[in-house]
């Protein structure tokens, strides 16, 4: 969900990352504490309003929760069957609203600002010899490599198809692993060259 920042000039875009993360924490806590269908209704209105304040359309809000469609489709009837419609609305509603709110934080906050907050929050870990800067960099790189590895996997899939080896697991896994390791080596060199360890 992070790394999807969309530039803007709304109140939410201008708000500090720490405040937004705190707001997200309070919001999700309230959803978990007041477990009533009406809470979900109020929460939905609140989230839709926040998206509107950030100048995002409901379509953008739907894009944030779309990846969890299968969870919703499976969980809702199961929960209804197990504990009734109210419980289904509460459980699925809490999940969907939390993801939509988290998506809004990501959409309105630069990754670096989010990571700076995380870096500040984990400063006490210095006492147990954990380098907060290193942890933040690790998170950054994790976000960064997702599209790169995704592209790499697509390339390998195309290569495999071009060679008529669609069903070969080895023709898929081996080049993905080799290319990923190669990418990791080049990335490591680039990080050294950019003075990360200096």
């Amino acid at each position: 969900m992070i790394g999807v920042y969309r530039a803007g000039d709304s109140l939410l875009h201008r708000s500090p990352a720490g405040a937004k993360l705190l707001g997200l924490l309070v919001f999700t806590t309230l959803l978990l504490v007041f477990r009533l269908p009406v809470t979900m209704g109020v929460g939905l209105i609140f989230v839709v309003l926040l998206y509107a304040i950030a100048a995002y359309t409901p379509v953008i809000m739907l894009q944030q929760i779309w990846p969890m469609k299968w969870i919703v489709i499976l969980l809702f009837p199961f929960q209804w069957w197990l504990a009734g419609w109210q419980s289904a609305v509460i459980v699925v509603g809490t999940l969907v609203l939390a993801v939509a709110a988290a998506g809004l934080v990501s959409l309105t906050t630069r990754t670096t600002d989010l990571l700076a907050v995380i870096e500040r929050a984990i400063q006490p870990l210095r006492y147990v010899r954990v380098d907060p800067e290193r942890v933040a960099l690790l998170l950054t790189l994790t976000i960064r490599v997702v599209p790169v590895i995704n592209g790499l996997v697509h390339d390998v899939r195309d290569t495999r198809r071009a060679r008529g080896m669609e069903r070969s697991v080895r023709a898929y896994v081996t080049p993905v692993v080799i290319r990923t390791v190669g990418y990791a080596e080049r990335l490591g060199d680039a990080l050294v060259a950019r003075g990360v360890d200096d």
Partner: protein, 226 residues
């Protein structure tokens, strides 16, 4: 101009000799290094900012040895790789350029101004909030260039920077390089690109086999490859 001195430099990976006995003093503004694949030219270039250390001899950049003063040397020497994807660290263009400035503890406004200026310099104004992975290969290489230029290095080492670029982007990058005030060491297979250099070294089998002006060295290299 800065001085990059190689004194009897050699490098081995296990039993394999990658570079042997290279001695050269580079003070020209534009230096090219050409050679076939595996000739040792990239290894030589990587020694300039301490990415690779010599196993014999020494490299000295402005009185500093990269093998011993890596951090100080890297503040002077920036490195541009052939694969920009591996060089881009942050999710958005502006954040990636700002990442290069994190050690300088600059005010947010100063960082924003420098990022904007670097983007302007490489011809990507207005791209600060653009996701880096959505850029074309050419634009990614320009972003990688902006990310290193923003630190205002005095030496720029470019290791096959046009390998993944089409003709238009190669020309764009060449124009950008030619307009820079920094000392540039350019490792490339692109013989047209290297013709603009004042001095060109030719590497073969880990040895420096020719060292002269661009026309002479390129001619030598063509004969060597024929």
């Amino acid at each position: 101009m800065s001085s990059i001195r190689f004194e009897e430099v050699g490098h081995q990976f296990g039993e394999r000799v990658v570079i042997s006995g290279v001695s050269v003093d580079l003070r020209e503004s534009r230096v090219g290094i050409i050679g076939s694949n595996g000739s040792g030219k990239s290894t030589l270039a990587r020694m300039i900012n301490g990415l690779v250390h010599p196993t014999s001899g020494r490299v000295i950049v402005d009185d500093l040895e990269p093998a011993r003063h890596g951090a100080e040397v890297r503040r002077k020497v920036s490195f541009l790789f052939s694969d920009p994807d591996a060089q881009i660290v942050m999710p958005t263009v502006g954040e990636d350029i700002a990442f290069s400035l994190r050690r300088l503890s600059l005010h947010k406004d100063e960082v924003a101004a420098r990022v904007a200026s670097a983007l302007e310099m490489v011809g990507l104004p207005g791209y600060a909030d653009h996701p880096a992975h959505h850029l074309s290969s050419g634009q990614k290489q320009l972003l990688a260039m902006a990310s290193i230029l923003v630190t205002e290095p005095s030496i720029l080492v470019c290791d096959e920077p046009t390998t993944l670029l089409d003709m238009r982007n190669t020309r764009r990058l060449a124009e950008l390089l030619s307009g820079l005030s920094q000392q540039i060491v350019l490792v490339t297979h692109d013989l047209d690109l290297v013709l603009s250099c004042e001095r060109v070294l030719v590497m073969a089998d880990g040895q420096l086999v020719a060292d002269g002006d661009a026309a002479e060295s390129v001619e030598y290299y063509r004969r060597l490859m024929s």
